[in-house]
Structures are given as C-alpha cells and as structure tokens.
C-alpha cells in the first residue's frame, strides 16, 4: 500500500477513475455528485502526503515514445504547489458546482462533471511533468478537455466562443510552443526540467531571445497579448468552469509552464546574462496595463473579471521575465494568491447569476443588501487582489515589487503602481455600487424574491474569501516551500 502511495503519477489516475465513476452513475445525480466530491477529497489528500518530499528529486519515467519524447513525471516544489492548489480548489468548486448547476437547471450535467474531472487529470499531468514533452501532451489534453465545458450551452455563442478558445490555444501551442520544444531538443539534446536549466552553453544570444519569445507566446494559456482573446471567449462557459479552470487550472497551467520553462529550461541566470526576456517583459507590462483598461470598459461582470485575470497573469509573466530570483518567487506566489482571490470573485459572479440572472454590473445597484455574504466575500477578495494587507495578495505583489527594484527596472515598478490603481478602479466600484447605491428598477421588480444563492454556492465563496485572510498570516511556510526553486 505504502509502495503504491509513492507513485505520485496516481494523481493523474485518480481523477480519471473519478470521471469513469461519474459516467457510470450518470443516472443517479446524487451518487454522481457525491463521487465527484469524494474523488476531489481523495486527490487532495493524496497530493498533500507528498509535502516534504518535494526536494528529494523523485522522478519516474513511464515509457519512451521516441527519443526526446518520453512520458516522465517528477516532484518539485513548484509543481507540487500547483497540484495542491488545483486539487484543493477542486473540492470547493465541486461543492459550488452542485449548487450552481442545480440552481440554474443546466442540461448535460454528467458531461459537465465528466470533463471537469478529465480537466483536473490533465492539470495534474502538467503539474508533475518532468519534461517539456510530457508537459506539452497534458497541456494540449487540457485544452481539448475544457472545450466541451466552454461550449456547454451548445448555442451559437458557445460555438463562436469555443472556436476562439480552441483556435488560439491549439494554434499558439502548435505553431510556437511545439516549434520551441523542437528547437530546444535540437539545441540541448534534452527536454528534461533540470534546476539551472539545460540551455546554458547550447544556444547563442539571438537564439535564446527568439526561443524565449516562442515559448512565451506559445504558452497561449498565459494569455499574453495579442493571444489573450480566448480567455474572454471562454466566459460563455458555466461559472464554475470559469472559476476553477479559467481563473485557476487552465490559466495557471499557462503561467506555471512559463515559470517552469524559465527556471528549469533556461535557468534564471541564463535568462539574465542573455537578456532573453527583455522583449517579453515589455509585452507583459503592456498586457497588464492594456487589459486593465479594457476591464474598466466592460459592463459584463464575467468579461471584466476575465480581463482582470489577463492582467494578473501578466504579473506572473513579468515575475519570470524580470529574471531575478525574488521576482520569480513573487510570480510563483502570485499563482497561489491570485487563485484564491479570483476564484472567489467568479464564485460571486455565479452566485449573483444563480440568484438573479444578472450578468451586467450596471444591474447590481443595491444588490449587496440582498446578498450580504456574497458581496462581503467579493470585497475581501477584491482587496486581496489589489494587494492590500491583511490579505494574502499583498505578499506576492511585495515580492514582485522588490524584484523590480532589485533589478532596477523602475519603469516596471511604476507600471505595478499604475496597475494597482487600475485594479481599484475596475473592481472596487462593483462592491460600492452593490452596497451603497439605491436599488435600480430591475431589482425593485425582483425585490421581494431576491435572496442569497443556494448554500452550496455561498459557503464555498466564503471559504475562499476567508482563505485569503488566513493565508496572509501563514505565508512563511509557503515561502519556505517555494524558495529552494529560485534562491540558491
């Protein structure tokens, strides 16, 4: 038994088995959803038991497809952190999904839970991938598994959203990512993730710059402009999907891959000496600012959150591109801190939709009085994302800012400042509107009937909001967990 538990690849198998069970129980909704939660909990416990062995250099090669392409997995802090993040939030999201899917009487719920579990399996594959080839296989699998979730509604909107989603994600990955992987293979003769990188001494300066650019654009899930359109397009999906996948699993898989490539393929030192990331740094800064401005202009709640996500993802890419250990650490931390903040915001969006069918921010006037828990959680998560203490979002921003000062990139520092102001400008008014504005006509029409969304929706969002507060005080262990990756 303990023998079996050493096989951390089971983290991929568990959700796969879960998806099979979901399929098996398709006629028994209660059982089906109980299974989903059960599998999620098992997965979390399973991944959690590897805490402590992340620096022991455990890796398994399952089999080799062809030279260069082998299916191999390893445990390292960054990946374990990502796996823990995704699996823990999967539990909460599953609870939330039950409330949401039933509250909105969605069709094809079995398919929904099935592909949700498959997506988690793919995410686990990305988290534990020991080389670029394995990462790429699961990266593509994740795109394909989430497509049925994005097009869940099966109407014209879903179709066009799905097209953009698939077109950009598959397109960038095949054109840029795959090319970059092949070049890496030809230059370095290996695709393994190795601390310190594998490219040092194998590629000259221009080559390094081109390759880094190919990687960053190729990882379309990181949503660097101009390849960001898929994320707003994915918002046609049911909200639990937007919450877990398009605020956590899928987008974080993107920036996680960015960090992995920077740290384990290039090596932070190599990126610094070759200045490989200069271009990408400015593109990320531009993405951060432009998408914030676009977010300001969006009245659709989920669209605004989507552009906010694009902007926040760029923080992480900037962290990688600054090529300083502290900034990269800040980026990695931001994966966690932003995840909790943003999933709360999406949960709120879903809760509002379930309770009122409102999707536009202008409809929210005075809604806070009817849904106090939802909007309190919203406010908490907003402050965390803006980066104010005592919420956890402040830590990752702190490290990012410190990194930009250390590398003397003062323009980036200023950009961070501007971006924080923009964050306030597009997130805070929603809470203020809900709490302090007089109720609008639409609410009056609804008024007697409005109350909080089902408990299964409200409890998860309160938990994640609380988590942003609690984690503020427990940042030390997370820092120490991740530090070995970046700081020697």
């Amino acid at each position: 038994m303990t023998e079996l538990l050493q096989h951390f690849e089971l983290a991929i198998v568990i959700p796969l088995l879960g998806s099979l069970l979901v399929l098996l129980f398709h006629n028994y909704p209660q059982l089906r959803e109980a299974t989903s939660i059960f599998v999620a909990v098992i997965l979390f416990i399973f991944t959690a038991q590897f805490i402590g062995s992340e620096n022991q250099d455990i890796s398994h090669t399952l089999f080799t497809i062809t030279p260069g392409l082998s299916l191999a997995f390893h445990i390292e802090p960054l990946g374990l952190m990502f796996a823990l993040l995704a699996s823990s939030l999967w539990i909460i999201t599953t609870v939330y999904s039950i409330g949401y899917m039933r509250g909105n009487k969605e069709n094809n719920q079995t398919r929904f839970y099935l592909f949700f579990a498959l997506s988690i399996a793919a995410t686990m594959g990305i988290a534990f991938a020991a080389n670029l080839a394995t990462l790429f296989i699961f990266y593509e699998a994740l795109t394909l598994c989430t497509f049925p979730l994005v097009t869940h509604k099966q109407n014209a909107d879903a179709q066009s959203g799905g097209r953009t989603y698939l077109g950009i994600l598959l397109g960038t990955s095949i054109v840029f990512f795959l090319t970059a992987i092949v070049i890496t293979w030809l230059q370095a003769g290996s695709l393994n993730f190795i601390p310190g990188g594998i490219l040092q001494g194998n590629i000259e300066k221009t080559g390094a710059i081109i390759l880094f650019t190919l990687f960053m654009f190729g990882i379309g899930k990181a949503a660097l402009m101009p390849f960001h359109r898929w994320l707003p397009a994915a918002m046609v999906a049911p909200t639990p999907v937007s919450a877990l996948l398009h605020a956590v699993a899928v987008v974080k898989a993107g920036v996680f891959s960015v960090l992995k490539v920077t740290v384990y393929i290039f090596g932070i030192d190599f990126v610094t000496t070759q200045n490989a990331s200069t271009w990408i740094l400015w593109i990320a800064v531009a993405t951060m600012l432009i998408s914030s401005v676009i977010a300001l202009s969006k009245d659709n709640f989920k669209a605004r959150l989507a552009y906010s996500t694009i902007s926040q993802l760029s923080y992480i890419v900037i962290g990688a591109a600054l090529a300083s250990p502290l900034a990269a650490l800040g980026g990695a931390l931001h994966i966690v801190t932003h995840a909790f903040g943003k999933i709360t915001l999406f949960f709120c969006a879903g809760a509002v939709y379930t309770a009122t069918k409102f999707t536009q921010i202008s409809q929210f006037d005075g809604l806070g009085r009817h849904m106090p828990f939802t909007f309190s959680a919203y406010l908490v998560a907003t402050i965390s994302i803006i980066g104010l203490p005592p919420f956890v979002g402040s830590w990752s921003k702190w490290f990012l800012v410190e990194g930009s000062i250390n590398t003397e990139n003062y323009l980036v520092l200023i950009a961070f400042g501007v971006s924080t102001l923009l964050n306030c400008a597009y997130l805070l008014p929603i809470a203020l509107r809900a709490f302090f504005k007089a109720p609008g006509n639409e609410i009056n029409d609804w008024a007697p009937g409005i109350k909080e969304a089902p408990l299964a929706c409200v409890v998860p969002l309160c938990i994640t909001a609380l988590a942003t507060l609690v984690m503020f005080f427990f940042i030390q262990p997370i820092y120490e967990f991740l530090a070995p990756v970046f700081i020697k």
Binding site: G68, L144, G162
Partner: protein, 502 residues
C-alpha cells in the same frame, strides 16, 4: 517449403483468387449465401496477404533482403522479386488496410453496389490489391509499370461503380491522367533500358552513375518525376483525386486513400533512391529544388481548399492532397531524417485517413449522405462513429499522443535541423488549417441539432453496425498505439531509409 515462396505468394494469391471471385455464382436479392460468398473470399484473401506480409516482415528483420527469382531465372536477366525493409513496410500497410476494408465492407457494399455486380466488385478489388502488392514486391522496373496499370485499371473500374453519375466522369478523368502518368513512367523505363540494357533495379543502380553526363538519363529522370507525381497526386497534378475519392463507393475510398497514393510514394522512393541514388537525385538532378515549393504549395493550397468543401468526403480528399505534400516535403529536405519523416507520415497517414473514410462509409450507410449539414446532431445519433472521427481528426491535426503528432514531430525536427524555417512554418501552419476543417465537422456534429429537413429519423439513434465499428476502432486504436509506441513505425522506416540511402 512454402516459406521460400512467400515473396511471390504475396502477389499470386490475390491474383489467382480475383478471377475465382468473378466466377462465383451471381448474387441475387434474398440469396444470403450467394451474396456473401464473394465477400468471404475477398476477406480471406486479404487476411492471407496480411499474414504473408507479417511473415515477410519477420523474415526480413531476421535475415535481411529476400531475393526471389521468378521461374528460376537469375537476375538481372530474369524478373526478381526483392523484399527489403522498405517493401515490407509498405506491404504491411497495404495488406492491413485491405483486410480492414474487407472486414468492414459487406453491408456498405450490399447497399451501394447493384446485386449482380457484387462478385465483380470484389474481383476488381482483389486485382487492385494484386497490383499494389506487386508494385512493392517486384524488383524490376518494367514490372512496376505493369502492376501499376493492373492496380490503376481496376481502380478506374471500381470508382466508376459509385452511385452518383459524377463517379463516371471522375473515373474517366482519373483514367486519362493515370494513363498519361503511367505512360510517362514507361517512357522513363524505356530510356533507361536504352542506356543500360537492363531492367533490374539493383543492376540499374550500379550502372547509372557512369552515365550522369548522358542527356537521355536526364530525360528519363524527368519523365519519372512527372509520371510519379501524377500518380501521387502531387499538386498541381492532383486534379483527378478529389472527385475520384468523393464519388467512389465508400469502401473503395477507404482502400484507395490509404494505399494507392502511398504505393506511388513507394515508387518515388524506389526509383529516386533505389534506382538512382540520393546523391544523384539531390545533387545531380536537384529534385529537392522543385519538390520543396510544390510540397509547400500542396500543403497550403489543398488545406485551404479543404476548408471550403461541404462534401466531407471531398474535404478529406483535399486533405489527402495536403498530407501527400507533407510526405514529399520530408523528402525534399534532402536529408535522411527528412525522408524517414516522410516515410513515417506515409504510415501514420494511411491509418488516420483510412479510418476517417471508413467512418464516412458508416455515415453513408446510415444517412445516405456526407454533406456537412447532414452531420448536424450526429454526435448524439452515431456517438461511436463521431467519436472515432473526432479522435482520428485529432491525429490529422497532430495532437500529441496520436500517430499524426509523431509524424509532425519528426518532420519539424528534420526541417529545423536544416534551419529551414519556411518548411517548419508550413508544417505547423498546415496543422492550423487542419484544425479548421476538422472542427467544422465537430461543431456540426456536437453543437448543432439536426434539422428536420436534413433527415427523416431526426432524433433516433442510428449507430453503424458493429461489423463496421470494430474495424473503425481498430484504426483509432492504431492511431494512438503508434502515437505512443514508435519502435515499429519509426524503427522500420529508419532502417528502410538507412539501407536505401548511400
């Protein structure tokens, strides 16, 4: 005792059984046994050829090249059947696809072919199989022409059996272009014979290098290039292919798409690297200079045209033209790794495209049409068939863990080794176009509900019979097996090319 004659049995078995098939009692409506007899024979013969090909594979991988002297006449005077790694690789594909086609064929053929022609249909099929196997087995240049014509003539007849009257014009067009192609090859063979006095390919290879200054040799090479390109449907000589594939009986499309152009590609390998040599082909005649731009155009143009097709069989046919472009692109990189990648794609594409056309046969059987709008709602109505189309489509796009990905991976490596960024860009760009046309089908099948006008059953489940689904899913499984395990598909291609190249 028999095992010594495997090389010739590979060709003779289907050749003898073809007329037998025609002699079987004519099928009549209601006469079950009579209807199935011809099918049974053709299936058994196809399976036998597959087994022989497997035995030959074992033999070749253990003992190397098999040389069989027909009638005991020693080469270079007599006709030699010569089986090496390259030959068995293609023999295996052809016979495997023939077996799968035949296993699935019964119901589809009963529906699409007039009763009195069924046994003739199977007879022509076996002749076509004979021709294709013969091309690969023989080591004699003139013999290749003869077998080429056997396979072509029977495929013209088979295509003309399609239900739509356009099948007739398609077949006629193919006949004209195919005959011109074959005649060009014949001229090439004649010119070479004029120069050397031999027709044996091994013998020819030994003599060709002394004759490099001869203009006749140049002319022969040029005739070969054009003739093979016609047979191969290399853009811009592909005009016969889309209609022929679109209007042929469903099962014939399955077979031809996965074998006919592949065997033509084999002829290209055999002539340009076996008869001439890679040095002569690339350095003296600079084939790569013309093949590269044509391949690039084939990939880009044919994929783009495929996007705008509403008849899915024709869409897949254009996709085939594009995929042939990938294979020739590999060859035109003028390196070993390029040719290996081209060879590998030949193998993988046969599985993928054979499977896709087989799925089309299922859809024709159940709905009678492969027009795009007819696909609306098929995801629910024919779930297994559509799932197969989706998975094979992913292979065509080149999603990792499918066979198609392995091809793209090696093609990309070969292109980037040469720092040929244009070729690399085209390889990945072609995949993007493939996403578009495959996803058109997927969207219709899964995201649209059936329109009343497009069909009479509307919501009923109309899954294809198991007899067709099992062969179809065998191909799907192969698509993933060879995407995860490449020791045979890549290993054999590598040995074949290594032996072929100087």
């Amino acid at each position: 005792m028999l095992s010594q004659h495997l090389a010739v049995l590979q060709v003779v078995v289907p050749l003898i059984c073809a007329p037998l098939c025609a002699l079987l009692p004519l099928a009549k409506p209601g006469n079950k046994l009579g209807n199935n007899l011809a099918w049974l024979l053709a299936t058994l013969v196809s399976l036998t050829t597959f087994i022989i090909a497997l035995l030959l594979t074992k033999e070749v991988s253990l003992h190397g090249v098999i040389s069989y002297q027909l009638g005991g006449w020693a080469p270079p005077w007599g006709i030699e059947y010569r089986i090496d790694h390259l030959s068995v690789y293609v023999l295996l594909i052809v016979s495997a696809i023939a077996s799968i086609t035949m296993l699935a064929a019964r119901k589809s053929v009963e529906q699409e072919i007039a009763h009195e022609k069924i046994s003739l249909f199977y007879s022509a099929f076996l002749l076509c199989l004979t021709g294709l196997l013969g091309i690969v087995a023989t080591g004699d240049a003139f013999n290749i022409f003869v077998f080429l014509e056997i396979s072509s003539l029977s495929s013209y007849a088979l295509i003309a059996l399609g239900n739509n009257r356009k099948a007739l014009t398609a077949s006629y067009q193919y006949l004209i272009m195919g005959t011109i192609g074959a005649t060009f090859i014949l001229i090439g063979v004649g010119l070479l014979y004029m120069l050397t006095g031999t027709l044996n390919i091994v013998d020819l290879q030994a003599r060709v290098p002394e004759l490099l200054s001869s203009r006749t040799l140049h002319a022969a090479f040029a005739f070969f290039t054009v003739g093979i390109s016609l047979k191969l449907a290399l853009l811009p000589l592909h005009l016969w292919l889309p209609n022929a594939y679109a209007y042929a009986p469903s099962m014939i499309t399955v077979f031809l798409s996965a074998t006919a152009t592949k065997v033509s590609l084999y002829v290209l390998f055999r002539f340009f690297f076996g008869l001439f040599s890679n040095e002569i082909t690339f350095e003296e005649f600079q084939l790569d200079k013309i093949l590269l731009p044509l391949s690039i155009l084939a990939i880009l143009i044919a994929s783009s045209v495929a996007i705008f097709q509403d008849n899915i069989k024709r869409m897949l046919a254009y996709s085939s033209v594009a995929q042939i472009g990938y294979m020739t692109l590999g060859i035109s990189l003028a390196t070993k790794s390029g040719s290996i990648a081209g060879m590998l794609h030949l193998f993988n594409h046969a599985l993928i495209k054979g499977g896709l056309f087989l799925a089309m046969a299922c859809i024709v059987l159940r709905t009678g049409s492969v027009q795009l709008k007819n696909f609306a709602g098929l995801g629910k109505r024919m779930p297994w068939t559509m799932a197969a189309i989706l998975l094979l489509g992913l292979g065509l796009i080149g999603v990792p863990s499918t066979a198609g990905f392995i091809s793209k991976w090696y093609l990309l490596i070969a292109a980037l080794e040469q720092n040929n960024w244009l070729a690399a860009a085209v390889i990945v760009g072609g995949s993007l176009l493939a996403i578009i046309y495959i996803w058109k089908i997927v969207e219709y099948a899964y995201l649209k509900s059936p329109t009343r006008q497009s069909d009479k059953y509307f919501n009923e489940r109309i899954e294809a019979p198991l007899q067709m689904l099992i062969p179809l899913w065998l191909l799907v499984a192969a698509n993933f097996y060879f995407g995860l395990k490449t020791s045979f598909s890549y290993g054999f291609a590598e040995t074949a090319i290594n032996n072929l190249f100087l």
